[in-house]
Symmetry: C2
Subunit: 129 residues, 2 copies
Amino acid sequence: MRIGELARRTGVSARSVRYYEEQGLLSADRSSGGQRQYTEYEVERVVFIQRMYAAGLSSRTIAQVMPCVESPGVENSDAALATLREERDKLDVHIGELLRTRDALDRLIEISEGYREQLVTGVPYDEAG
Amino acid sequence: MRIGELARRTGVSARSVRYYEEQGLLSADRSSGGQRQYTEYEVERVVFIQRMYAAGLSSRTIAQVMPCVESPGVENSDAALATLREERDKLDVHIGELLRTRDALDRLIEISEGYREQLVTGVPYDEAG
DNA sequence: CTTGACCTTGACGTCAATGTCAGGTTCTAG
DNA sequence: CTAGAACCTGACATTGACGTCAAGGTCAAG
């Protein structure tokens, strides 16, 4: 498939796909005319890249862990595996923070709803919540 | 306290504190000489702002939910509460994605470690994992 | 009343991922 | 063989949350 279809199927722009290539995250065969040719494999790969971006990794960092993704279960550089572990740990910490933030937002919402409840029932919301 | 102390205590730069003010997220009394004066309340507030940024909210969005934070349990605009709920829901979705991403990273790590295990034991890692 | 740390505003710089545009080439349907 | 959609490279633009610097004003200690 060509870049347009890859873009449509992954939900990213063609510009982004080219950028990923520029960053060494993706490679592409070329047609005789010079146009990029992709396979199903690249669809998965672009999706993976997007997941990494969403998890807060930079292009550089994604590139560093790519060996572990390209050939899982094969010997890759210690550096790749080390970076992978680091990023997993960072992500773990980040998730923990987000969970606490979500709880904080929940409490704020409850309090605001509590006030509205009070409007209806004439009774203050339960402060022991 | 002045801006330097607030910055130190919250771990952000003075530049950022001024930026928050510029974005309408924070206000400050001024000394007779025009320097910003803060209280303990602003320490909490800056920490809250940082949590929101870490959760992916923009300055504009944080500003929109601020009424619910400034006076919790008091009637705030429906818009503020609605935005707050939206952001909580987005965060929920995001956390879900991050959890799946973490699992994916865990699997990648396991596979790489499995290979090393195999190096030591001479037996392939458990493919049923 | 001076010194040095701290503060002020204003402005320009940065970085990363991506948008956008121009001018030209390739592909595919008819 | 041609039209038009899709693609190419290259380059400049954008956005948001800051960093950083300049030129000056404020504050607390001695």
